[in-house]
Structure formats: C-alpha cells, structure tokens
C-alpha cells in the first residue's frame, strides 16, 4: 500500500511555505520575501487560534487546524460552468487565481487587473493595512497568497457595478487558497463591488481571502459579499478598510454557505465625516457555523457608523457576532449604532454575541443592542388564520426579520442578487424540511 503522509494544520502550511517560497509570485522581490517571511514567523508563533484566544472564543477552528490541505489542482479544461453574471462586468477567480479568459471586463472606465501580474509595483501598498502580527488568518494569507483582484479607481470615476466571482473547484483532497485583493478608490470615485464566493456541492476547500481597501476623500465603495460556498467548505475572510474624510465604506455580507465561516472586518474612519455601514444576514442550517466579527475604529471626529446584523438559525447551526466599536479621544461627535439580532428556528441552534464599546471621547452618540428570539407564535397563528400555510407563514416572518438589514441595501444590482440568494437559501431549507 502506498501511504503518503501529509502534514496537517499550521505545520502543513508552514511546510508548504518553506518548500514553495521562491516559487511563489514575486519570490524574487526582496520586500515581498521579507513580508512573507515575517508573516510566516507570525503564523508559526500563533498557529490556528484556539478558543483560548479572546478573539476566537466562540469559533473553534479545530476542523480547519486538523485538516490537511493541498495546493488547488485546478482542472485544465476551460469549459467551466459559471453562475449567471450579476452585473455586466465580472472578474473571475478560480481557486484564488485570476482568470482573464473567463472574465469580462471590457468597457470599464477603470482598470481591473491581477495582483500577481503587478507585484513589482505594489511595494508599500500590499500589506499597508493587513496585520499579520495580530490576525493569524492574515498571516497565513500573506505567507501564501498567489493572486488577487487589483482595483484602482481614479479620481471622480463612477465605476458602476463590478462582480468579483470566486469559484472553487472540486478535488480529491481538500485544497486551500488565499487570495489577496487590493482595492483603492481615489477622491470622489464610486463603485459597487458584488462578490460571490461559491463552489461545487461536494468540494472541500479553505478560502482565506484578505482585502485591503482604501476609500479616499468623498469616495463611496459599496461592497456586497454573497458567501455561498460549498456545504463542506471553509471560508475565513479578513477585510481591512480605511475611509478618509467624507468617504463611505458600505459593506453588506450574506453568509449562507460553507461549513465553517468567519467574516472579520476591520474598518478605520480616518477623516471627518467618514461613514461606514456594515450590514449583514447570516442564514444557517444543519451543522453550519458562521461568525461575523467587526472592529470599527472611529479615529476622526464627526464620523457615523451603522451596523445591523441578522442571523437566522436552523438545525444545529451556530452563529456568532462580535462587534467592537472604538471611539478615540479625537473622535468627538461620533454617531455609532450597532444592532445584532438572531432568530432561532430550532431548539438545537445557538447564537453567541459580544458587543464591545470602548469610548474615549465625551461628546458621542453610540448605541448598541442584541436580541435572540424565536418566531412569535401569535404572529404565525395570525397568518395561518388568514389561510396562509404554516411554512409560508414562517417564511414571511423570517423575511420580515431580515428586512431591516436588507432594506439598507439601496444598490439595485446588489439588492437583486441578495434577494435571489435569500430566496434560494429558503427554498433549499424547505426542500430539506419536506424531505
């Protein structure tokens, strides 16, 4: 018998890095070699965090740490089945690598390209925001990233809608990929980026993206994320964003797929009048675990932040919300709001939430709230007494529960994509319930 020993977990990734380091994209660039080596040191020191680490108290990465992952063996056939496009323009990544042949980027008023192809021009930019020393998943990403989306919107450009499709392929052994996306909007630029992450039914993989997002004065980025990974997949994503005076970073995340998912967002508001909206819906069933962790840094006066997260839990699923708002002493006139609500549709589902306010300024308006509840029996009965069948009545109330998070999505393309994703999720649950 031919037994191949694979190292698993953190040692497996470190081993891979040692073997690959010169062959990774940009391997000959000294600044990048240094960056990767430092990240490797950070990852060696931290490994996959356990639940003893405060930031990971509610999310157990053991299923990731105990698995062995290979490089993705993307099949060479080009006739890939792509999901229907959400917008006109689309950048396609397969197993974390940019695929110009599958993308459609003609006629955009700005340039879309691949990080891997422009590494020699990215010194000082790549890694400017990410903190591998603090976030081990960012360390792993920095150590092993191969590619990512490189977006630069020049001053004043109306970028319209761009879709970022991240597709995983199925392979015999689990694979891991760590795309590094760099997005920069110059003064007054505007863009809606709709990101869809998905993979075929049986695929097992770790998708570990890191985003570094810079929103300049008066610019507006709508960043919609539709996480619909394969049922057995892991997605651990980390977003770092800075927003300058008068700019807006508007993030909406739907967590509907995957087996174990963490969506970690760090936003720093650096100039007066900057704004951040972070809204999201987590739709969980079966054995799914989804974690939304936000850290909002109010580092300038008169900034506003709004967060509304809604989690619907079925089966034995688990949801986590951790939301930290830091209001620095300079950040007078801060207006902060955070609401996190969960709807438990099964007695075995569980939700953990941890809001955290750290306020060092005195002239501040900051509120937060969290609720966990079940469907209201009286509401269900009211609908049924009008002839509406029970499953439909429950579906209406679940949609109503999500409404407050979803209604903030004003971008039409994103709203359509989101509604379709929510409906698809609900239809699958009904099938499961009916089966």
């Amino acid at each position: 018998m031919n037994v191949v020993m694979h190292q698993v977990g953190a040692p497996g990734f470190l081993h891979r890095f040692e073997g690959l380091r010169d062959r990774l994209p940009g391997g000959r660039l000294p600044w990048l070699a240094t960056l990767r080596a430092q990240a490797a040191e950070a990852f060696r020191a931290q490994g996959f965090p356990t639940r003893r680490v405060e930031a990971w108290k509610y999310t157990d990465l053991a299923p990731v740490a105990e698995a062995g992952f290979d490089e993705p063996l993307t099949p060479m056939d080009d006739a890939m089945d792509l999901p229907p496009a959400q917008a006109g323009a689309r950048a396609v990544f397969v197993d974390g690598r940019f695929r110009a042949d599958l993308s459609s980027l003609d006629g955009l008023p700005f340039e879309v390209s691949s990080v891997a192809r422009h590494l020699d021009a990215l010194e000082g930019r790549l890694g400017a925001l990410a903190r591998p020393g603090e976030e081990p998943m960012a360390a792993l990403n920095t150590m092993l990233f191969e590619d990512g989306l490189l977006l630069d919107l020049p001053e004043g450009v109306e970028g319209g809608v761009l879709e970022l499709l991240s597709l995983a392929t199925a392979s015999e052994r689990p694979s891991a990929f760590h795309p590094r996306h760099l997005i920069r909007l110059a003064k007054g630029a505007k863009l809606t980026l709709i990101e869809t992450a998905t993979g075929p039914e049986g695929a097992r993989y770790l998708h570990n993206p890191v985003f570094e997002v810079e929103v300049a004065e008066g610019a507006w980025l709508t960043h919609g994320r539709l996480q619909q990974e394969a049922p057995r997949a892991f997605q651990l994503s980390t977003i770092y964003a800075t927003v300058a005076a008068g700019g807006t970073y508007d993030n909406f995340t739907l967590n509907a797929g995957g087996r174990l998912v963490r969506n970690e967002i760090h936003v720093t508001l650096t100039g007066p009048g900057a704004a951040c909206h972070m809204n999201g819906a987590q739709l969980l069933a079966g054995d799914q675990h989804a974690d939304t962790t936000t850290a909002l840094d109010h580092a300038a006066p008169s900034c506003a932040s709004r967060q509304t997260y809604k989690t619907v839990l079925m089966g034995r699923s688990r949801g986590v919300f951790q939301g930290k708002i830091l209001v620095r002493q300079v950040a007078q006139k801060t207006d902060g709001y955070q609401m996190n609500q969960a709807l438990l549709l099964s007695p075995e589902a569980e939700m953990d939430s941890k809001p955290q306010l750290e306020i060092y300024a005195d002239d501040v308006k900051c509120s937060h709230g969290a609720t966990v509840g079940e469907l209201d029996a009286e509401q269900v009965f009211y609908l049924r007494s009008r002839g509406i069948p029970e499953t439909q009545a429950r579906a209406m109330l679940v949609q109503a529960f999500l409404h407050e998070a979803v209604e903030g999505v004003t971008d039409e393309a994103l709203r359509r994509a989101l509604d379709a994703a929510v409906e698809g999720w609900w239809a699958r649950q009904e099938e499961t319930l009916a089966a």
């Binding site: 009965f381 009211y382 007494s385 009008r386 069948p389 109330l397 109503a400």
Partner: protein, 249 residues
Amino acid sequence: MLKIEGLTATVDGKPILKGIDLEIPSGEVHAVMGPNGSGKSTLAYVLAGREGYEVTGGSATWDGHDLLSMEPEERAAAGLFLAFQYPVELPGVGNATFLRTALNAIRRARGEPELDAMQFLKLARQRMRELSMPEDMLKRSVNVGFSGGEKKRNEILQLALLRPKLAVLDETDSGLDIDALRIVADGVNAMRGPDFAALVITHYQRLLDYIVPDRVHVLMNGRIVRSGGPELAKELESEGYAAIQARAA
C-alpha cells in the same frame, strides 16, 4: 351551519369553556355577549384553532367539516374568518403583501385563479375606499403604528377581501368612535346574505344597533346562560350581567 355541541376547553390546564352549545344557520348573525373573562375570546380562538387552547370535549362543525381537527389555514380555506380582538403587529411584513398573500392562499384553496399585483391593488383600493381607509395603509407594516381604530378597520378590510362564509368578530367594536363603528358595521352588513353566517362577540349593546343580530346569547363563566332575540341585548344594557346571572342561577 355552525354547530357547536358540549364544547369544553382549557387554557394552561384551567377550564375556561365549560360546555357550549350553539347553532348558527347560514344566513344568520348571532351575537355573543358577556362580561370580561367569561370566555368569549377563548371560544373565538378555539374555533380558529389557536395553539394552547385545548379542547377537552364536545364538537364544532361547519358545513359538515369537523373544524376542531383542522389546521388553522384549513379552517380559513373552508370559509372561517376571525377578526381578532387584538390584531397582531407584523413588523417588516408589508400590509399589501400580507393581504395579497392571504387572498391568494384563500383563492387557491377555492380553486380560483390568483390575483397579480395589479389586479390585487385595484380590488384592495376599492375595498379601502368603501371602508374610508387611507391608501397608505397598504404600504405600512401590518398593524404597526396603526391606531386602535385603524387596526380594527384593517381586520374588516381582510373580511371584505377574503369574503368568508363564517365570520367570528371578536370585539371589533371596542376602541371605535361612532363613525368608525358605522363603517365597520356597514362592512359586515354588506356581507350578509344566505351564504354568510357571523358570530359577533361584543361587550356592549351599541354595536348591535348597527349590526342587528338574529339571536343573542349570553356567555358567563364558560357557559351560555341565556339566549334570545335582539331584545335580549337591550335588556342586558339596562339590567346588567349580574341580574341575568342571578336569574339564570
């Protein structure tokens, strides 16, 4: 015909209905009156199939259907409608969506084609005009931020749209001023006909000036203690429940 025989029910293990006998032939409107806590709402909920209201004996049939063995939505499909004493608020559910979903569910059950959004709006607007309801009530979440009177009118709007064959109105008059009361009564009277029966629950005689019942029943402590014609309501008004109870005892 609604036929209730020896109906007993408990809530939280506590007996509330203690043997109700009541028959309402199609074409008739019957009033059930009684003091607070006598079990009027319990009777309404038991007929509509609310969870937590446990039937411990007796029967209730509607046109031969065994109501008590049916799901709430099946009862609605069979023609039953309950106007709630306290209409339920549904934040995030638009009133128009709610009304159309309900109407189409009922139409499906009756084998009628469903209405699309345009057809529905046309019908709803017409009914709302008849009930003097402002049109923006379609856009708001169901009953959220509605005044007491608006909530009751929204119940009557549902009655007018769903056109049930058996309506149970639970204190639809409470909290209404005289104009609203007249509008609500007109809404109910418009439904009257040989294929329509109603059980009008009320605490006061006032509503019965506008919806003149064929029969009046007095419910006290879980039992119907007296039945009579419309004049019984007047008698209650002048003598009070205590006198009736004393005489019935």
